[in-house]
Amino acid sequence: MSSNYDNNFSKGTDLAVIILYMLMACIGILAIFMVEYNPNSDWATSFISGKTSYSKQFFFLIFCSFVAVFILLVDSKVFTALANILFAGGLLLMLATFVIGKEINGSKSWIPIAGGFNLQPAELCKIFTALALAKFISRPETDFTKLKSHLIAGAMIALPAILSIGQHELGLALVYSAFIFAMYREGLPPFILIVLLSFAILVIATLLIEPTLLAIILSVIAGLILLYLGKRLKRNKQLIVIIVSIWLICVGTVRFAVPYIFNNVFECYQTTRIYSMVGKEYDCGLNQKAAASFVESGKKSRKPDDYNVKQSKIAIGSGGFWGRGFLKGTQTRGKYVPEQNTDFIFTSIGEAFGFVGTFTFLGLYLFFLFRLIRIAERQRSTFSRVYAYSVVGIFFFHIAVNISMTIGLFPVVGIPLPLISYGGSSLLTFTALVFILLRLDADRQMVLR
């Protein structure tokens, strides 16, 4: 496509990102091919027949390329104009799944569309949320140093997240926390990040340490702080109140909130996954939901094990430094890793190409993310920048959580690896996310509202 004919189309579009996008998508098809490969049948025939996942993914990619071209041809003002409507429409679609949705793998989050394909509105809603958030923050009247703005933005994110939880898509819900990057960049006080981080540490500590012991440790820390502050406390009585209430919250979390959530809110398998991450076993007898289903079905609740993670780690670990070679992974060939097409696609790369492969692969991703941040920083309009950081956040969250769960650093939550995992919805979402950003970036000299 020459710039002479269509100056508008290629001018200002970031070629590096497009190349990376295509590269990653091709790696994805290759990875799926490794998973599905069957030496007993001719791969070319099965590719053309379109029955295998890798050929479907290939057609998805072609379709997504058309979508990408379409997005690049759209006026960038469309995105600012439609942001709120799209967001509202997305939320409606998500609500609609509760009624007309189809259940796949235990989550009722899919709407069947023509040709046997299914659409997952929660996936698309990530784009709409990103646009809407950008629209909200970039409004001239929004002052993002104010708490009120933070709360409104938080609510915009929380809404689809809660709906996702309602659809039993915990992974997708967690993704919405990725918007914190964009909000932080726009002025969210670092204090909030620190509090959230401390809270995360506290929860992990709860898993690792005996609750009573942890309570004692927390009390000792609080006591030490009081001692250290000593004289200042006399001058400022408020400090005592703050410290004591923090202490109360912490101990309360440890002793009551966390066990309550694990036992009453989470399903047995979810808690087990979280415990197994730190190498502990969870007694499902404590879980109210498991107990309830036990009463209902009259069957003994089967103890879910961490088979997935074990096999996933074996697959990646067996790759060694150089890998076992293309199509030579025994874990993959023997179908030992469940869901290897989608959530555990990283294992097929890890097994076949070893540390060299995974390192290179992660390098590509890192380069991709840093490239997106660079794009974000060169935007003149707040809208584009917020949107860009939202994309960075979503990509990063997906990559980090997905890979971490395959290597046992994070509990298993079902979220795909961007551009690699099999799945049309996911590929379409990430394509749209990236190309809308590229479209906005092409017009970076404009100030969009």
Binding site: G317, Q331, K335, F355, L369, A376, T382, V392
Partner: protein, 692 residues
């Protein structure tokens, strides 16, 4: 407007970088540092199947298979996959209880780990196999694995062939680099052990890819890492199955041994040791029942007397004694000795069986009549040879001859655990009699008639006959003549057997005299009534005194006289005169080999001989006491460990025969001349101390 927040872009980059770093760190630990995942993956997905090649076959000289391979089935189990097994049904089929089931599973885990197949029940009978095969679907994790086991169509040569058995921990330690695994079988005794590397062939390993449901998906990497099983090579031996069977038959109900050698090649034609056992009793499922009984049997059926038994040669030594004196120039064939029924030159007279004057007028006559006095005199002349300064010098020379003839050293036969028997060293006499100056030929006088401390194995005796038959050389006795498609290495292993052993320079005419004498033995001498139809032969009888009761009956011979094709040594323990028992056996063996059949008359003789029961009363008593039926069919065994076990069992049961605990140390003092002289008399108490 958010310019003041610009540094936050950097912070986000740092956060992203940190998380990526953590991920990479975990990948390093998974993929680079730890190798347990590789193993875990292989255990998951690669199913290793060992393909056992057929062991080589051992043939006799006419290409008849002494042993063959037959198929047997084992029930094997992969403990990890044995879940949801219908244990009650399995236990019912195998007739075991649940406790035994658990025990065997644990054993399989200990031996072959949880993920590899281990033997649950070896050697299934055909009925069991059929039953299990039908019901196998009810026992996940269990499978039937084929194994080839030995069978012996001629029921013969157990001691020679040896047996294969499952390797134990000690074996694995000794053969660490040779790729044996728990559950493998290897040759433990006999030719099976000696030629293990040739017979075993090369095991093959096939690798299969297996999916998460345990289904085999196909060969791993298209079989790139598979190794092909290469069948073991066949051995072609010099054994003649018919002679071997006859030897075992004739030795039935007796304790003793017979060895026949082809003097032209050194190939062993037959080697029997009695009591023996049927080799088919030690294969497959029968082994478990039999082995214990064989080990505990007081008659030691597992012990190969032909290469381990040590017997005083008695008169069968005389031709060799004469050869030494002839070669040293001490006597001529015409040398005579005036014997009147005893030899008194060393004090107390030594008895001779003959009184008539002139029965030792020359060497030929002396051999024919087996005159003790004559050969005692000849021995003394050799020891007190004026060529050497002292008796010691003469003795050293004499011993040198004996070693050259193959006595007092291992011959190097291709069976494990050969015994070298005993030709005493001067050191032994020095120790017994003090300073070498103090002793002379009179002190070990009876060595001259194959007694004193001289012992030999039946193999050594047979070999000495081959030596005489060949006029002064022999080939190292051996069973294996050739190996199928021999490699250089294997040729090197057989090379010692193809080399002529000519260790003396005794001229042919001396051998001719000896042969004439030995021929006369069979014409008018001590073996005159033993004939080999159609052949002239040479022989020497022996009647050896020993510490265990009645005299041993010995017979050595070779035939035909002018073109010897077979040399034989036969010993029947505690049976009496050599000509009475050992002689006929030797004669029949030669007849069978040379004529390839027995005359009707000989057949009858053989049948009668086989019926004769010469078992010592002590052993019969033992059988009676232990409620055992009669001894097993003749054949033998040889394994140091096994005989040790046997010894210990014997001690424990208090049925030990007089053993040779005090061989040399309590031997006579220099002045106990009498003890020494007594050695010819049937005073067995004294001799206990002398003969091991």
């Amino acid at each position: 407007m958010s310019v003041y927040n610009q540094n936050r872009g950097g912070i986000i980059q740092i956060i992203i970088g940190t998380i990526f770093f953590l991920i990479v760190a975990q990948l390093v630990s998974l993929q680079v540092v730890s190798n347990k995942y590789k193993l875990a993956a292989d255990n998951n997905a690669i199913f290793r199947k060992i393909i056992y090649p057929d062991r080589g076959i051992i043939y006799d000289r006419k290409k008849r298979a002494l042993l063959e391979n037959t198929i047997s089935y084992d029930l094997v189990v992969i403990p990890n996959e044995a879940k949801g097994v219908d244990t009650a049904a399995l236990c019912a089929i195998l007739q075991i209880d649940k406790a035994e089931y658990s025990k065997r599973i644990v054993e399989a885990i200990i031996k072959n780990t949880r993920v590899k197949a281990g033997v649950f029940e070896p050697f299934l009978t055909p009925e069991l196999y059929a039953q299990l095969n039908e019901n196998l679907y009810r026992f996940p994790g269990f499978s039937l694995s084929e194994r080839s086991i030995r069978s012996y169509p001629y029921n013969t040569a157990a001691h020679v062939l040896g047996y294969v058995a499952e390797v134990d921990v000690n074996f694995l330690k000794k053969h660490e680099s040779e790729g044996y695994e728990m559950g493998d079988y290897a040759g433990m005794t006999g030719l099976e052990k000696n030629y293990e590397t040739v017979l075993m062939g090369q095991r093959g390993v096939k690798r299969f890819l297996r999916d998460n449901k345990g289904k085999i998906q196909g060969p791993y990497e298209k079989g790139e890492f598979d190794t092909v099983a290469i069948a073991g090579k066949n051995l072609y031996t010099s054994v003649d199955v018919q002679v071997q069977q006859l030897a075992e038959k004739l030795l039935q109900n007796k304790i003793g041994s017979a060895v026949a050698i082809n003097p032209k090649t050194g190939g062993v034609i037959a080697m029997a040791s009695s009591p023996g056992y049927n080799p088919n009793l030690l294969t497959g499922s029968k082994r478990r029942k039999t082995i214990g009984r064989l080990l505990l049997d007081t008659a030691r059926p597992i012990y190969n007397r032909a290469i381990k038994g040590q017997y005083p040669p008695g008169s069968t030594f005389k031709p060799l004694g004469a050869l030494i004196a002839l070669d040293e120039g001490l006597i001529t064939p015409n040398f005579g000795y005036n014997c009147f029924g005893s030899y008194g030159a060393c004090g107390d007279p030594r008895k001779c069986e003959h009184h008539n004057a002139g029965h030792a007028a020359n060497l030929q006559l002396a051999l024919a009549y087996s005159c003790n006095s004559y050969f005692l005199q000849v021995f003394r002349m050799a020891i007190d040879n004026p060529k050497y300064a002292s008796a010691k010098g003469g003795y050293v020379k004499w011993k040198e001859y004996m070693n050259a003839f193959g006595f007092g050293r291992k011959l190097g036969v291709d069976l494990p655990s050969e015994n070298k028997a005993n030709i005493p060293d001067t050191a032994q006499y020095n120790k017994d009699f003090g300073n070498p100056r103090y002793w002379n030929s009179c002190y070990m006088l009876t060595l001259g008639i194959g007694q004193d401390r001289m012992t030999a194995t039946p193999l050594q005796l047979a070999n000495s006959m081959a030596f005489i038959a060949n006029d002064g050389y022999y080939y190292t006795p051996h069973f294996v003549d050739s190996i199928e498609s021999e490699t250089q290495e294997e040729a090197a292993q057989l090379a010692p057997f193809r080399k002529k052993q000519k260790v003396t320079k005794i001229p042919k005419e001396y051998f001719d005299v000896i042969k004439e004498g030995m021929h006369d033995v069979t014409v008018y001498g001590t073996a005159a009534f033993i004939k080999v139809p159609g052949h002239e032969y040479c022989a020497k009888t022996g009647t050896a005194q020993n510490p265990h009761g009645k005299n041993h009956s010995l017979f050595v011979c070779f035939a035909p006289k002018d073109n010897p094709k077979i040399a034989v040594a036969v010993i029947v323990e505690n049976a009496g005169y050599g000509s009475t028992w050992a002689g006929p056996i030797g004669g029949l063996l030669m007849e069978q080999y040379l004529n390839d059949t027995l005359t009707t008359e000989s057949q009858l003789k053989a049948d009668n001989l086989a019926q004769v029961d010469l078992m010592p009363q002590a052993i019969k008593n033992w059988y009676a006491q232990n409620n055992k039926s009669a001894y097993l069919t003749p054949i033998e065994y040889n394994n140091d460990e096994l005989s040790d076990v046997w010894d210990m069992e014997m001690l424990a049961e208090g049925v030990v025969k007089t053993k040779t605990k005090d061989t040399a140390p309590t031997a006579p003092l220099p002045n106990t001349d009498k003890t020494n002289k007594d050695s010819l008399l049937p005073n067995t108490d004294k001799k206990k101390k002398l003969n091991p």
